[in-house]
């Protein structure tokens, strides 16, 4: 049986990229970075005092996931390794992607980088990013009588 390597992820990425381009607003331009093998799907939610991100990252152990925040840009990256050393001859179907993954988001509001927390369950990583406190309230400037 001939083995054809398909890579649905990269195609989906392409498709997604086209859509992101048509849907401006949330800064997603540098989300997928050239050089990584695949990119996880995410849900990004903004609540009043925090952002909550869910990323589908199946088959990656938590120690292989690296999350960082720099200059308002959140980076989620890491590497997926294969579960088992199997004889390469025996594969009839390979749709999965392995190797490095990366996604980047510039968040529309300041986040308190020290208070970001992450947890992982059943291949879904949950990130909670509290907004920086001082940016929550609009600044009120009173006009003094001269």
């Amino acid at each position: 049986m001939a083995l054809i390597r398909t890579n649905p992820w990269s195609l989906l990425d392409e498709f997604n990229r086209e859509f992101s381009r048509m849907r401006p607003g949330f800064a997603d331009d540098e989300s997928r970075v050239v050089g990584s093998n695949w990119a996880p799907a995410v849900d990004i939610k903004e609540e009043q005092d925090r952002f909550v991100i869910h990323a589908d990252i199946p088959g990656v152990s938590p120690e292989d996931i690296d999350i960082s925040m720099e200059k308002g840009v959140l980076t989620i990256k890491g590497e997926r390794k294969h579960e088992a050393e199997e004889n390469k001859e025996g594969f009839h179907r390979i749709e999965r992607s392995f190797g490095t993954f990366m996604r980047r988001f510039s968040l529309p509001e300041n986040v308190d980088a020290d208070k970001i927390s992450a947890s992982s369950k059943d291949g879904v990583v949950e990130l909670v990013l509290p907004k920086a406190a001082h940016d929550n309230q609009p600044k009120k400037i009173s006009v003094n009588n001269g």
Binding site: P8, A41, D43, I57, E95, R96
Partner: protein, 162 residues
């Protein structure tokens, strides 16, 4: 105005090209997620409605001497909520992926993860003994170990020189 139209045309052509590419190359892994209205928690229903109706359940099928191993990426499930069937040489994995996190007021900027009812069928390279099949779920990967049927094993015994 003309340039706007050109941009829209170009964007649309790209979407179509991307879509055709996706369908022709990835239609196997592309799986329909049916949105059910049974999610009654307010907010969650709105979220599910806004999520894609198609998601990728990437699979891998490996055959060794007496076993067929299938791995399927289905993040965010509960281990006991999978429905797994083997009929002849077709494996069917179905389930309902629900939103597990609590709901709080907010606005979704990006919704790419798929939720709902799904079903993935995979042809198996050999007849398997479904009674002795085992399944495990770890870090979002469903792994099925399917021993080949006795008939299949007999069929494959190599004939050695006397």
């Amino acid at each position: 105005m003309t340039s706007l139209r050109q941009n829209i045309d170009r964007a649309w052509a790209q979407v179509q090209a991307g879509w055709n590419n996706l369908v022709s190359n990835a239609s196997n892994a592309l799986t329909r997620f049916i949105h059910k209205d049974e999610e009654n928690r307010s907010g969650i229903r709105e979220l599910v409605r806004s999520t894609p109706e198609w998601g990728l359940l990437s699979a891998e099928v490996h055959e060794s001497g007496d076993t067929v191993t299938v791995r399927l990426e289905v993040p965010g499930m509960e281990a006991d909520k999978f429905d797994i069937e083997v009929d002849e040489r077709i494996l069917t994995v179905s389930g309902h992926k629900r939103v597990s996190h609590e709901h709080r007021e907010g606005r979704y900027h990006i919704t790419e993860c798929a939720y709902g009812e799904f079903e993935r069928r995979l042809p198996l390279p050999a007849e398997v003994d479904s009674k002795h099949a085992s399944a495990s779920y770890k870090r979002g990967i469903l792994t099925l170990t399917l021993p080949k049927s006795e008939r299949e094993k007999v069929r494959r015994i190599p004939v050695g020189n006397a």
